[in-house]
């Protein structure tokens, strides 16, 4: 399985699509394909933002070094 795209990478890819489109020398077929790829990236970015749930952990010393334990506030 390929590693999940980070938000930063997905956003950069989306920006690249928009830039490719705006260069203006793209044939219509290609432009529509790029637009759809951009739309898919938009959905990916949007999904990440909508579903993000912050993970907060605390470093705890253990016999085999440090461990990260979930930390809950409130």
């Amino acid at each position: 399985m390929t590693e999940k795209l980070s938000f930063e990478d997905a956003l950069a890819a989306l920006e690249a699509k928009v830039e490719e489109l705006s260069r203006g020398d793209v044939p219509l077929d290609r432009a529509l394909a790029v637009f759809e790829e951009g739309l898919a990236l938009y959905r990916e970015c949007h999904g990440m933002l909508a579903q993000a749930e912050q993970r907060v952990t605390k470093l705890v010393a253990a016999t085999d070094g440090l461990r990260e334990e979930p930390l809950n506030f409130e």
Partner: protein, 412 residues
């Protein structure tokens, strides 16, 4: 020499008037000859500190009821391990003397050292000087913060307002990043070592670190002036934001950190992109690409219309049909995007849908444009293709007009 102005009766000689210089010299000799006034130890608060171009420092020492002028000669002033400033409580040693030019008694300082809070301040200045000379405050050393941190390390107390503020704000602004707390003491004698250990524990697990503590007294915040801690912050492999106390509190760690935040809350905002702005950013990117596509389609259609005369009706129909397919695909994609979009962005997306509408010829007609055709159905795009007295068809949103050309003017 008799210097008494009104001698008693039977005085042998009349009094002699002294020059001012002579009087001052008399005073000076008297003061200098008094062993009680040499190498005195005096406690007071500094004020009115002034540095002369020659390197001599003038100031006054005061208590609640009195003051005395003091002078620090250049060699003494330069050797001080701290910066003399107004309002410092100090212990000074020196010799009382008379400054004849102003007829003023002054204390010529041999040594001066801060007391109490002044001692804190003096140590602070010394550490600051050492680290500054080591180049640790140089602007060139400051690293930019990552634009999209994946893991944010917090070096602070597990209990306390700072960690609560940090986590709350980070959750609201950028829940995409994981937060790793490395608990530490943040006051007391053990705190500097504890902070160093907490930093060392977390620095290889995150891509940015916030070293934070809520407000407190000078003594409470003192551990953040520790030289070894400052060096550890400077050596940290990832950028460090310092956020200690309130806006007005400045610590040595602030100087070595890559970014100084006035408060822990401000640090959380500095380190995290705002999710709301990111939503707007990605929407505006879709918006931009949609505008580009719309323009492309419009140009394409204009090209088709121009080529209309030369194309066979069948191939033209086919092109238009394919165009229609593209438009429908575009519409589907956009409706999908709209369906997933946030409620807050619904308005923006609705306007995007409107723009898509505008791409189609029907949308163009709705916006008040007309399509002009010849009687054989060919679209007219240029005045020079039309002659006076031609009959044309004008298509509007809700019907068509049959018109007759009276005259024409061509523009170059």
């Amino acid at each position: 020499m008799n210097t008494v102005a009104e001698p008693g009766p039977g005085a042998a000689e009349p009094p002699t008037a002294l020059t001012v210089s002579e009087l001052d010299r008399l005073l000076r000799d008297t003061v200098r000859a008094n062993p009680l006034l040499n190498q005195v130890l005096v406690r007071g608060e500094t004020g009115n500190v002034q540095r002369a171009a020659t390197g001599v420092v003038f100031f006054t020492l005061r208590d609640d009821e009195a003051q005395i002028a003091c002078v620090l000669f250049r060699t003494v002033a330069e050797a001080l391990p701290f910066e003399l400033a107004d309002g410092m409580a100090v212990l000074a040693t020196g010799d009382v003397d008379l400054y004849a030019r102003r007829g003023e008694v002054q204390l010529v300082i041999r040594t001066v050292a801060p007391e109490g809070v002044g001692l804190f301040w003096a140590t602070f200045q010394k550490t600051r000087k050492t680290l500054e000379e080591a180049g640790l405050f140089a602007a060139a050393r400051k690293r930019p913060l990552p634009a999209f941190p994946r893991r944010i390390g917090l070096v602070t107390s597990e209990r306390g307002a700072a960690v609560h503020d940090l986590v709350t704000i980070l959750r609201r602004r950028y829940p995409l990043a994981a937060v790793v707390l490395s608990p530490s003491l943040v006051q007391g004698a053990e705190a500097p070592a504890s902070l160093r250990r907490a930093l060392a524990d977390v620095q290889d697990r995150v891509d940015v670190v916030i070293v934070a503590r809520g407000g407190g007294s000078l003594e409470d915040l003192w551990c953040f002036n520790d030289e070894a801690l400052a060096r550890a912050v400077a050596a940290c492999p990832v950028p460090v934001i310092s956020a200690v106390g309130h806006e007005t509190d400045v610590t040595i760690v602030d100087f070595v950190a890559d970014v100084r935040a006035p408060t822990p809350s401000a640090a959380a905002e500095l380190v995290s992109p705002n999710i709301r702005e990111l939503r707007e950013l990605i929407l505006s990117l879709v918006d931009t690409s949609l505008t580009t596509i719309r323009d492309l389609l419009r140009d394409h259609r204009r090209g088709l219309a121009l080529a209309g005369g030369r194309l066979s009706p069948t191939s033209l129909q086919q092109e238009v049909h394919e165009d229609g397919e593209d438009l429908r695909r575009l519409g589907r994609g956009l409706r999908d995007a709209a369906a997933r979009a946030l409620r807050s962005a619904a308005e923006r997306l609705a306007s995007l849908d409107g723009r898509l509408d505008a791409v189609s010829p029907l949308g163009t007609l709705r916006r008040g444009y007309a399509i002009i055709e010849r009687e054989d159905g060919r679209v007219v795009t240029e005045a020079r293709a039309v002659n006076a007295s031609d009959s044309l068809l004008v298509r509007l949103r809700d019907g068509r007009l049959h018109v007759h050309v009276e005259s024409k003017e061509e523009e170059p």
